[in-house]
């Protein structure tokens, strides 16, 4: 478990990093927290010609509010997000999801940009980005472009980012005041990737649901918005029957794969169970 030879670069700026990506013509890998890439290198499953280490680019780590969004620099550590007061206030779902990410040493190194760009469909951050209808900013040789969550994830470990682009920022709309949220996750052990995770945001007016957002982790090749289930709540309100119906719909919407940890049927079933639990818990903290 030693990686093959590679060149190593630690640029001090995004421009310098972009120039390096250009120089290697798609044969370089960006190193963020390294929690997924380094094992892939050691297993020789990834054999890039070069690593471009983003850890010296201080300007990529920040959390700030702008235009109703919380903007997080791609290199912001998960451990920073876990304790950031702005995140706690404006994005409590992100805060809760962060606690499900691995273990403390992993969160200390892992970054939000790295997690999203890695696009593991069982990971928490892609589900949160999807549920909150967030965006990422990709910077390439031709400048910046904004990519929505829906356009970002293509399939397992694959995004629409170009090889010469760097994910520099994650933009998440601040959650409406009074919105309820929950991240329900089932994994075999604490800290593992989800067998199934459901991120939920509920905005209510009395028993009416003005906005429901539900997204999955672990239920297929990409995180999935469960729009048809959301619509049931937005149409029928937040009574038990509507929640049951939404949960049932959720389990119909997913096409999970089987792996060593869980069958497809079990994942489908869990999608329903956790959707119900997530909605109910989100409802419990929603005001309005």
């Amino acid at each position: 478990m030693k990686p093959p030879k590679f060149d190593y670069h630690a640029p001090a700026s995004v421009d310098e990093a972009l120039a390096l990506l250009g120089r290697y013509g798609g044969d370089a890998k960006l190193l963020a927290g390294g929690q997924s890439l380094v094992p892939l290198l050691n297993f020789r499953l990834s054999r890039p010609a070069a690593l471009v280490d983003l850890n010296r680019i201080a300007s990529l780590a920040y959390v700030r509010e702008h235009d109703g969004q919380v903007r997080l620099g791609a290199m912001t550590r998960q451990r920073t997000i876990e304790f950031d007061p702005l995140v706690a206030r404006k994005l409590p779902l992100l805060r809760e999801a962060t606690r499900w990410v691995g273990h403390l040493p992993i969160r200390t190194r892992g970054t939000i940009g790295g997690s999203i760009a890695h696009a593991d469909p069982s990971a928490e951050y892609p589900a949160v980005l999807t549920a909150l209808e967030g965006q990422v900013v990709a910077r390439g040789p031709k400048g910046e472009r904004v990519v929505t969550a829906g356009d970002l994830f293509r399939t397992y470990l694959t995004t629409s980012l170009e090889p010469d682009e760097i994910l520099v920022e994650v933009r998440l709309p601040a959650m409406p005041p009074g919105a309820g949220w929950a991240l329900e996750e089932f994994a075999r052990r604490h800290g593992d990737f989800a067998i199934i995770g459901i991120a939920a945001v509920i905005v209510r007016e009395g028993s009416r649901c003005t906005k429901a957002r539900l997204a999955t982790a672990g239920a297929g090749p990409v995180p999935l918005r469960l729009r048809a289930a959301e619509e049931i709540l937005e149409r029928d309100g937040l009574g038990d029957a509507a929640i049951e119906a939404a949960a049932r719909r959720a389990s119909e919407l997913v096409s999970p794969d089987a792996d060593i940890h869980a069958s497809a049927e079990y994942r489908r079933h869990l999608t329903g169970v956790l959707t119900k639990r997530a909605i109910k818990r989100a409802l419990g903290v929603a005001r309005g």
Binding site: P3, P4, F186, R248, E265, H269, V273
Partner: protein, 820 residues
């Protein structure tokens, strides 16, 4: 022991300061020779394939490569290892003719560093002819299954049918006969430190030195010498002071010791190989996966009359010694803590295209008790009796101790009913049952499991011969085997401080601490006065073929050797003092670190007084006394005898007892299992250090929990390993650890000087049983009984789902889950 006794106190481990600050000396920290080269092992990607040839030219051409050796070199320069059965299985330290499991070594690249070695290993071309594979032990015995070893002719490595008493009569007389099929998973230990070997072959001296984290048994030393074609006094095994965990797994490192030794011989350089985690998960060692068919005969009052076991133990591609210990290690305690006298065991050892097996904490006992305790609960259900009461009616009583089991075990001491009642009382068993009734009425799935077990320690080397037919053992050329021996040397330096030298190979057990407690007690010192050296070296230590730190033996046999050595030395000190004091030995006693007159006024001599005089002035010794203040003792059990003509053998030497109660709740929607209570009561005789003892119980319990819920080395039908990383092979961590309530009962062993027994495997052998019983009890309203481990949520949910569909009445609280 007096108030001043160090034995029985939770003395802090002297090992921890260095281990917790990263200052331990493990094999990878151990550069015993300069200019070491590094090995990378080329492994078979095929589960079953004929090896047609090798092309190592590209690998040899890489700058920094010292050489490449292949199976062809192994065939030429080594002999196969002896196996524990008569079937002609040729097990070499690397594949020679065929690869028989994914990950089997086929070549070794030796280079300047591991990076270069791995780069070059990628370039080794091995030409394979892939063959059909088989991984299931029942399928492997069917006609037409791919045969791994043509010389054997089938995949059956061994079969023994052992009969004790008259089982046919017991089954004929029974009111109740129950049958069940169980499956136990293949899992290992995954110690934090993987295997590591450094070998130097000195062509001039003709000595091969192998440093490794091998834990014994040192029977593997003469066997490896034979494999390498070396006289035993030209093969030196050295074990560094620290081993980062083993739990049985590192007893199976020996083929790599031979492989790296050959690599050193053929490349002419010292070679170091540190196993990486992927290699460890693919190809180190695990326990067997087993299919078991169990039958139980009982009276309707709950008295067990007899049992039948039919086992298929899957040892993987080759039967590697000490297998088939997977079947026979518990021969003496086959009946567990129960009184029944009639037993039939039909034990088959099967070879399939999986990785190889060997001792793993609880060796064979996790399997044994999972099945037996599962049968006890089925009996309770069948006759409508509380499972605690069924066990009470069958436990061996204290008056029967020492107790000879029908299969030859000699349970040295114990009070099983008292320990069992203690566990029930600690758990509040009756209240738990009431809580269960309330929970069930509310539609919740709450269950209580029980498990009791005899915990064998210090294997008698003779048990392995149970694998052989009595007719074979009766041949004049057959040499019987028996024994369980350990040694220790205690010496006093000229200023009165003590050094104790062991031949053990601790892997974290705290031997230094425990030995310092024992010697301090024996010689009236404090533990800080005792330095304990435990770096095993076959050239300098006193050892025997059973030496090593395995089968929970140190707490029993190792501590005995230490106590006896200290006592020998004490005797000498008293004799010396008697001479100085011109008094008869009988008038003196050794107390509080000094020799004193039993009565009257006389000077006393401390150890320091005596040590200085004895070392500096040998003229002061009495006539005939050997100079020097040291004593070596070798302790061996006289109850370790060879297997007899009726297949009876006292397979271990001391036998403890475990009684456990667990309460769980199962979430029927997710199939998650929550452990609500877990009580574990142990009787391991005298406890030398309760803190270390409890650490062993915690570790054993978590290890058992791994096999019960998380861990399984899995293969697809083609023999590809699916669990090559820790993302797929799940090991329980601190987050998964339940709260464990531990209790002790102390029945000192009459066989050891301190009354101690082993405790190292402990709850690893009972947790699979107790949690399976608890989950079965929880899901009883659905008619579900657990027969297979691990109980993953996905598998458990499938059982719940099928049961809910077929016959259970959905409760109000948990309506039948809605499915698409």
């Amino acid at each position: 022991m007096s108030e001043k006794s160090w034995i029985g106190k939770p003395v802090r481990r002297v090992e921890d300061a260095r281990l917790l600050t990263g200052r331990g000396t493990y094999i990878d920290d151990h550069p015993p020779v300069a200019n070491v080269f590094h090995a990378a092992i080329v492994r078979s990607p095929h589960a079953h394939a004929r090896i047609l040839g090798y092309d190592c030219s590209a690998a040899r051409a890489v700058d920094g490569v010292a050489g490449v050796i292949t199976g062809a070199d192994v065939l030429k320069h080594t002999k196969p290892f002896s196996v524990g059965v008569t079937a002609p299985v040729h097990y070499y330290c690397a594949a020679t003719d065929k690869a028989r499991f994914v990950g089997e070594p086929v070549a070794v690249v030796v280079a300047r560093n591991r990076y270069i070695a791995e780069d070059a290993a990628d370039l080794v071309q091995v030409r394979y002819e892939p063959l059909p594979a088989v991984v299931d032990p029942e399928r492997a015995l069917e006609p037409g299954a791919p045969v791994l070893h043509e010389a054997v002719g089938s995949n059956l490595a061994n079969n023994r049918r052992l009969v004790y008493g008259d089982p046919d009569r017991a089954f004929a007389d029974a009111d109740v006969v129950l049958r069940e099929r169980f499956k136990f998973p293949k899992y290992g230990s995954t110690p934090i430190e993987t295997y590591g070997v450094i070998a130097r072959w000195d062509a001039l001296e003709g000595v091969c030195t192998v440093w490794s984290n091998f834990m014994g048994p040192f029977i593997m030393h003469p066997l490896t010498a034979r494999v390498l074609g070396l006289p035993e006094n030209r093969l030196r095994f050295i074990v560094p002071p620290d081993i980062g965990g083993s739990f049985g797994i590192k007893s199976s490192i020996y083929p790599y010791m031979a492989l790296i030794a050959v690599a050193a011989k053929l490349t002419g350089v010292a070679v170091k190989w540190i196993e990486d985690r992927r290699e460890h998960l693919l190809a180190s060692s695990t326990g067997t996966d087993r299919v078991a068919y169990r039958e139980l005969a009982a009276r309707k009052d709950g008295t067990i009359l007899g049992m039948r076991f039919r086992w298929l133990d899957n040892v993987g591609g080759y039967i590697r010694s000490p297998e088939p210990g997977c079947s026979f290690r518990p021969t003496g305690n086959f009946v567990g803590p129960y009184r029944f006298q009639h037993l039939e065991v039909d034990a088959s050892t099967v070879m399939t295209n999986k990785s190889l097996t060997g001792p793993n904490r609880g060796y064979a006992c996790g399997h044994l008790y999972f099945e037996t305790e599962g049968m006890l609960d089925r009996l309770a259900d069948e006759i409508g009796m509380d499972p605690a009461e069924v066990r009470r009616r069958n436990l061996v009583g204290p008056a029967a101790m020492p107790y000879r089991t029908p299969s030859g075990g000699l349970y040295d001491s114990g009070d099983y009913p008292t320990a069992f009642e203690k566990a029930l009382e600690m758990a509040g068993y009756d209240e738990l049952r009431r809580e269960q009734a309330r929970a069930r009425a509310a539609g919740r799935y709450f269950g209580i499991g029980l498990a009791v077990a005899v915990d064998p320690s210090v294997s008698n080397m003779g048990y392995v011969a149970t694998a052989l037919d009595p007719q074979f053992r009766a041949k004049p050329e057959y040499l019987p085997k028996s024994g369980a021996v350990d040694s220790a040397t205690v010496k006093v330096d000229p200023l009165g401080r003590v050094i104790a030298i062991l031949g053990s190979t601790p892997q974290g057990q705290g031997h230094q601490t425990v030995v310092s407690q024992i010697v301090a007690d024996e010689l009236g010192l404090i533990p800080e006065d005792v330095t304990v050296v435990d770096e095993m070296d076959t050239f300098t230590r006193v050892w025997s073929i059973s030496s090593g730190t395995y089968s929970s033996r140190f707490g029993s046999v190792g501590t005995s050797a230490v106590a006896l050595a200290a006592r020998k030395l004490k005797t000498k000190l008293v004799e010396y003092a008697a001479h100085l004091m011109e008094m008869p030995v009988a008038a003196l006693e050794f107390s509080d670190g000094a020799v004193r007159a039993k009565a009257g006024k006389a000077p006393s001599y401390t150890i320091k007084d005596l040590a200085g005089r004895a070392h500096w002035n040998t003229e002061s010794l009495p006539p005939g006394m050997e100079p020097g203040l040291q004593a070596t003792a070798v302790f061996g059990f006289s109850v370790a005898k060879a297997v007899d003509a009726e297949d009876r053998v006292n397979s271990s030497n001391t036998y403890g007892f475990i009684a456990e109660v667990m309460a769980v709740e199962v979430d029927p929607e997710t199939a998650a299992i929550r452990i609500l209570r877990y009580v574990s009561v142990h009787d391991a005789g005298t406890i030398i250090n309760p803190m270390i003892a409890e650490g062993q119980i915690y570790g054993g319990a978590l290890h058992g929990l791994g096999g019960a819920l998380y861990e399984e080395v899995q293969y697809d039908a083609d023999g590809q390993c699916l669990t090559g990383t820790f993302m797929d092979y799940l090991v329980p961590t601190a987050s998964e650890a339940p709260t464990i309530e531990i209790g002790h009962v102390v029945s000192p062993s009459p066989l050891t000087p301190l009354g101690s027994k082993g405790l190292g495997e402990s709850s690893s052998m009972t947790v699979p049983a107790v949690i399976a019983n608890a989950v079965s009890d929880a899901l009883k309203p659905l008619g579900i009984r657990i027969t297979e481990l691990p109980m993953t949520p996905s598998k458990l949910w499938k059982l719940i789902e099928q049961a809910s569909r077929s016959h259970a009445v959905p409760t109000a609280r948990h309506p039948r889950p809605a499915l698409p």
